[in-house]
Assembly symmetry: C2
Homo-oligomer: 226 residues x 2
């Protein structure tokens, strides 16, 4: 007899000049675990997700491309008494050190230690690095800015992997993906890890994702990183 | 000597229960033609885009997955005196006949005849069909609901193509793509058509899209459509 699914709380981190596809790609896949969106032909998943969008303020977010978006709550409104299980950190122009909100960095420092999984897309890993979450970890980032990120974050003891669509650390806590569309492949692999291959296959069929595996990266070579 | 780029006006059609990735995928790619977002290493494109998000009202849009989004204007505010050059129609649960806003259908009937190109993603082609824009045309749609869409829209004289990542009609006016992530591959091909292979390659490098061609469709078989 199947047991009831466990609900995990997912925080999606928004900021101005975010690359909206960095979060929307994974969310379109993981969103099938939202109780309002579970499809009849997807096997009952062992986990469901409650998704919250966070930002520095409740003013509309201006992504580099895309309509203005609204967060549900601010980073500062998340108190010590609550804990997110999953955290998704996108990248983009707004992930650059001079632009990323300090309230986001503080949120990550408070919440990441108690979270089960932290996932980043594109230069979201630059934010994770600056929040001190990648020390001694393997990670990757967008290949078009790979060298600049690695140089900027030099000295944090991070094992940056150039040829990787995404990188999963052995303890499965920190997942980082390469640029933009790579976030969907990471989300597909994370979904498989979380709810199994059968449910993940149904979901990727609905969104028609031709999923790539961890090492399937054509862009490390394109950007002369090998 | 290169001539100045021509600015094209792109309308992105939003509605409640849209699949947000259906528009955000293509927009993340086409958005590099926004004058505020042209990258230094992308060859000066021959076309720039001015992007407007439209909806039935200015209330926040509730996508099936993703943060609430804000349109810039309503469909009814677009008067007879103005003309969009490009129209992008996403799909999703809200594309179903009983849900799609009549103001969107009316907008398409008014604007599509004068537009240069009309593009749809996923069940966005269901909306195009109901607006009478696919009569005598080739088209495709999401493969997980392909049979249901074709049956519903039976009699409109549409040549539905089961095995296609996307479908381009010979006059290049109507472009329809398969489900969700297929919209990015269509956008990549459209970008090549619009501004050439070199600029398109740079842009897909930045978003790390491993682009698929028109016939690269693994899902027609998965859903037993062949």
């Amino acid at each position: 007899m199947a047991s009831s699914p466990t609900t995990l709380r997912l925080a999606v981190c928004l900021f101005d000049q975010v690359t909206a596809l960095d979060y929307q790609g994974p969310i379109e896949i993981l969103g099938f675990l939202d109780p309002n969106n579970v499809k009849p032909d997807v096997p009952t998943p062992s986990y469901l997700l409650e998704i919250t969008y966070l930002a520095r303020t409740l003013e509309p977010i201006k992504a580099t491309a895309g309509p203005r978006a609204l967060a549900d709550r601010t980073y500062d409104e998340v108190g010590d008494g609550e804990q997110f299980d999953l955290i998704l950190v996108p990248g983009g122009q707004g992930a650059r050190p001079e632009k990323v909100p300090s309230s986001l960095l503080e949120f990550l420092k408070r919440q990441a230690p108690g979270a089960k999984h932290v996932l980043s897309v594109c230069t979201g890993s630059w934010i994770l690095a600056r929040a001190g979450l990648l020390q001694g970890k393997k990670a990757t980032t967008n290949k078009s800015v790979f060298k600049a990120v690695v140089e900027n974050i030099h000295g944090y003891g991070i094992d940056w992997i150039p040829k990787a669509r995404f990188v999963v650390n052995d303890d499965k806590k920190i997942w980082t993906s390469s640029g933009v569309t790579a976030g969907m492949d990471m989300a597909n692999a994370f979904l498989e890890y979380l709810v199994g291959k059968e449910a993940a296959l149904r979901i990727r069929g609905i969104v028609e994702l031709s999923a790539k595996e961890e090492g399937d990266d054509e862009f490390a070579e394109y950007y002369h990183l090998l």
